[in-house]
């Protein structure tokens, strides 16, 4: 009690100090030093939950309180595409395989969930077979069969009813011609895509080899849905649970509660500890209030996992006691600048090298939001948490990362443009950070005579009509384009394929890859898609990363980071690399 009050007062004085500093216009305020050591001892140290479990415990009971400044796209397993949702959904749904609930890199590992083991490939990785465990039931006691899994995938096909989801299964499975999903093509035989020879076996047939199909099998769309309980667009109001928790009260737009699912059998599930008795989740909550409440111990988790608001950032970082209760993971998002080889003189690799050398990466880091909320300076494409990442820096922009003007000038001379050249840089008009990054480049490239003109475009059409449309980009000399990418899962395919495969570039526009055109890279991608050995496959992704950097088609800026605040009341707190945020499956209550 004593401690909470003191912390509360410390928190209050910090807020007041901030407010006063704001009024005083720049007068510096000293952070309060009270309440320090005790709090640090109790909640671990800065970044303590990145690689280890903070407050390990197996104590059951209690309620975990989550809040969300926004809202889920959908709670329906067939219609959700948010990272935090995939993290959280494991509490009430079980997919064929899942990411381990473990700290750091171990969280990237796939482990069977509904299935007895990982998938068995055959037919050159075009067919994948899974066997379901026996004894798994829905919350109403009905046994789960492979047909329920198949139905779940089939219904997710309908993008008219479920527009929020991904299209991996739509695109890769060998569906019958003109198939429209479980509702509109009710009586169509879909065995060409998914077969269920018996109640425990499910077989997926793909159109092309896919060595990493297990990542597809962890997607929430493989969570079984009982056909007679499916209410389509309204199913999200009461998803029939297979996990240790089920929905109690659910008011979309306000929040929901989860309670224990007595039909969940721990004997079938080595992955879930199911410690708390339930979860209270509030949605559409004031973002600053969420930060304040977590810092005060009144709330446990900001579910979005994207980090604290600027107000809390300014309060937490200068205070060692508060900072000790936070983690600053690097996620799976890369902010980068595409260097378009279609726009002269960037068709010459020496000119592209000049851009790589001249860029001031510390200025870029500041533009993206700084060391804690912006990101870590990136030297290659694959973020550190994705298997296949290797530390290398092909074009070292000086020892201090502020750009190597000498080498840049040498490259310009080799390119035949000793005095520099003029080109344009595009960014999304609605994104102030992209604008700041473009301005930072304008300044640092200006040092060697490369003159950039800023070209903002509306975000909605950025890829469809402007930067992502090859003809437009070439005609309008968009030599550089601000860009960003986050993978759907921690794997080279998920991260690299959409941004380096030249075959995803369409003349009609819409591709995220706006600059990488290298037939050798394409060839390597095909190899990776056929390589079923994970280690060998990750080696190929490393090779691809290096090749694209050698080509100097991409100037990596930062790998995004977020400052997360650890709950004072939770046990088993750790960051899962697969999601780049706290793992919501392992947490319990003190």
């Amino acid at each position: 009690m004593q401690k909470t009050t003191r912390l509360g007062v410390a928190a209050l004085s910090a807020v007041l100090a901030l407010g006063l500093a704001a009024c005083g216009g720049g007068s510096s305020s000293t952070p309060p030093a009270s309440g320090g050591a005790t709090a640090a001892g109790a909640t671990g140290e800065f970044n303590g939950a990145l690689t280890a479990v903070v407050n390990p415990s197996d104590k059951k009971g209690g309620i975990l309180k989550f809040a969300n400044a926004g809202d889920w796209d959908s709670l329906d397993p067939g219609d959700t595409y948010y990272g935090y949702s995939w993290n959280f959904i494991r509490l009430y749904g079980r997919s064929l395989v899942m990411f381990k609930s473990a700290p750091g890199k171990e969280g990237n590992e796939l482990t069977p969930d509904l299935a007895e083991g990982l998938g068995t490939p055959s037919d050159d990785a075009k067919t994948w077979t899974y066997k379901l465990k026996a004894g798994i039931k829905f919350e109403d006691g009905t046994p789960v069969t492979s047909k329920d899994v198949k139905y779940g995938v089939e219904r997710s096909f309908d993008k008219e009813v479920f527009p929020d989801g991904y299209t991996y299964f739509n695109d890769f499975l060998n569906w019958p011609k003109d198939y429209k999903g479980a509702y509109k093509s009710k009586d169509v035989n879909t065995d060409s895509a998914i077969e269920t020879p018996d109640d425990q076996t499910i077989v997926f047939h793909l159109k092309q080899p896919l060595s990493n199909f297990d990542y597809f099998a962890q997607l929430p769309a493989t969570i079984p849905v009982p056909k007679d309980k499916d209410t389509g667009a309204k199913y999200k109001e009461h998803v029939i649970a297979t996990g240790p928790y089920k929905f109690d009260k659910n008011e979309i737009g306000k929040g929901f509660t989860l309670v224990r699912n007595d039909q969940w059998d721990p004997a079938t599930d080595p992955n879930r500890k199911a410690l708390p008795d339930g979860y209270d989740v509030a949605t559409n909550v004031n973002a600053d209030d969420i930060d304040n409440r977590i810092l005060a111990g009144d709330l446990d988790v900001d579910i979005a996992g994207t980090g604290v608001q600027p107000a809390a950032l300014g309060r937490v970082l200068p205070d060692p006691a508060l900072k000790a209760g936070t983690d600053n993971p690097t996620g799976t998002r890369l902010w980068y600048t595409s260097i378009n080889g279609n726009v002269p003189p960037l068709d010459n690799i020496e000119c592209r090298k000049a851009v790589e050398y001249a860029a001031d990466k510390t200025a870029l880091q500041t533009a993206w939001g700084g060391e804690f909320a912006g990101g870590q300076i990136a030297t290659s494409l694959l973020p550190p948490s994705i298997p296949g990442h290797e530390d290398f820096n092909t074009w070292v922009p000086g020892a201090d990362n502020k750009g190597d003007v000498t080498k840049a000038k040498e490259a310009l001379t080799a390119c035949g443009q000793p005095n520099g050249f003029e080109t344009n840089i595009s960014y999304r008009a609605e994104r102030p950070k992209e604008k700041a990054a473009a301005e930072a480049l304008q300044q640092s490239l200006g040092r060697v005579g490369i003159k950039l003109t800023l070209k903002p475009f509306p975000q909605a059409d950025y890829f469809a009509l402007y930067a992502g449309k090859p003809g437009y980009a070439k005609d309008n000399k968009l030599g550089l384009a601000m860009n960003g990418w986050q993978s759907d899962w921690p794997d080279g395919f998920g991260f690299l394929q959409q941004i380096v495969d030249s075959r995803v570039i369409r003349d009609t526009g819409g591709s995220s890859n706006v600059s990488v055109r290298d037939p050798e890279v394409d060839k390597l991608i095909d190899q990776a898609m056929e390589q079923t050995d994970a280690n060998a496959r990750n080696g190929i992704w490393t090779q691809i990363d290096k090749k694209v950097m050698d080509d100097a088609y991409i100037l990596p800026n930062v790998w995004a980071k977020a400052l997360l605040v650890r709950s004072k009341n939770a046990t088993n707190v750790f960051v899962n690399d697969a999601y780049g945020m706290y793992d919501y499956l392992g947490m319990g209550v003190k």
Binding site: N284, N286, A460
Partner: protein, 337 residues
Amino acid sequence: MVTYIIRRLIWSVVMLSIVSIITFAIFFLVPRLAGATSEDLAARYVGRTASAEQVKVAAEKLGFNDPLVVQYGRFAKGIVAGADYDYGPGVEHCPAPCFGYSFLTRLPVWPDLLDRLPVTVSLAIGAAVIWVIAGVATGVLSALRRGSFFDRAAMGIALAGVSLPIFFTGIVSLVVFSYGLHITAPGNTYTPFLDNPATWAYNLLLPWITLAFLYAAGYARLTRAGMLETMGEDYIRTARAKGLPERVVVAKHGLRGALTPILTIFGLDLGLLLGGAVLTESTYSLPGMGKYAIDAISHQDLPQVMGVTLVAAFFVVFANLVVDLLYAVVDPRVRLV
């Protein structure tokens, strides 16, 4: 009187229709004038990295490809006659008044509005009681002790109340009273009155006071000015000369005269607030009409925006009507024709 009311009611319906047409036009015409296609509009309501085909399907489903008149007609028809909605495995009938289905959650809007109205009503009424009592009392006392320390202090605080925004006073008071001293409820807590009246009041106490602080300040200044004026009138002197006790002079003669403009403003303020106390509800994360409105607008969810706009407009129009009727009651010189 009766014909007056009927005429005003008809006029109200016309007003609400105009409001809905303007909202609709802002939503569709402005992006269209800027060159957006129906697919561009639909792209807001699909998942990230949606394919062009997926967006096309969404545009068709949301009806963006139809002419605007047809789209508005569909909306108006839904309110009068209800609508049918395909939710996947079957078709559902949404009974009148059907405000349509959210573009994002794809759930009907009307139940949402009914669900959120009590929160806003609780907040507005509770705050109104506090601010009227506190504001008028402070105003009267200040006027009677003009120039005293109390007067100066009260008017100083009132000035602060009028100038400080709720997102500042709200967050500071949460940090002080809820997270620091633990004497009030944290943000994002609301219990319906029927569940537990005590918890209902406890949870709303801080929002009530914060909101009332803002309004009470204005009312105190208004009352003070009004009282100073009426207390200088001849009839007050007459009342005093008749030997009436000062209490009666102030309450019956002075205050009644000063109250007329306060009543007018109170009606309008309350009407506006019932449509949603946007800042208060956002700061305290109360799931009322105001929070609903701000979320709907930030997600560009037209059916939700339409619903909340119409309800808010209804309260404003209705409050105007009530205030006009009250004029006739309070001031005998006014006749409604």
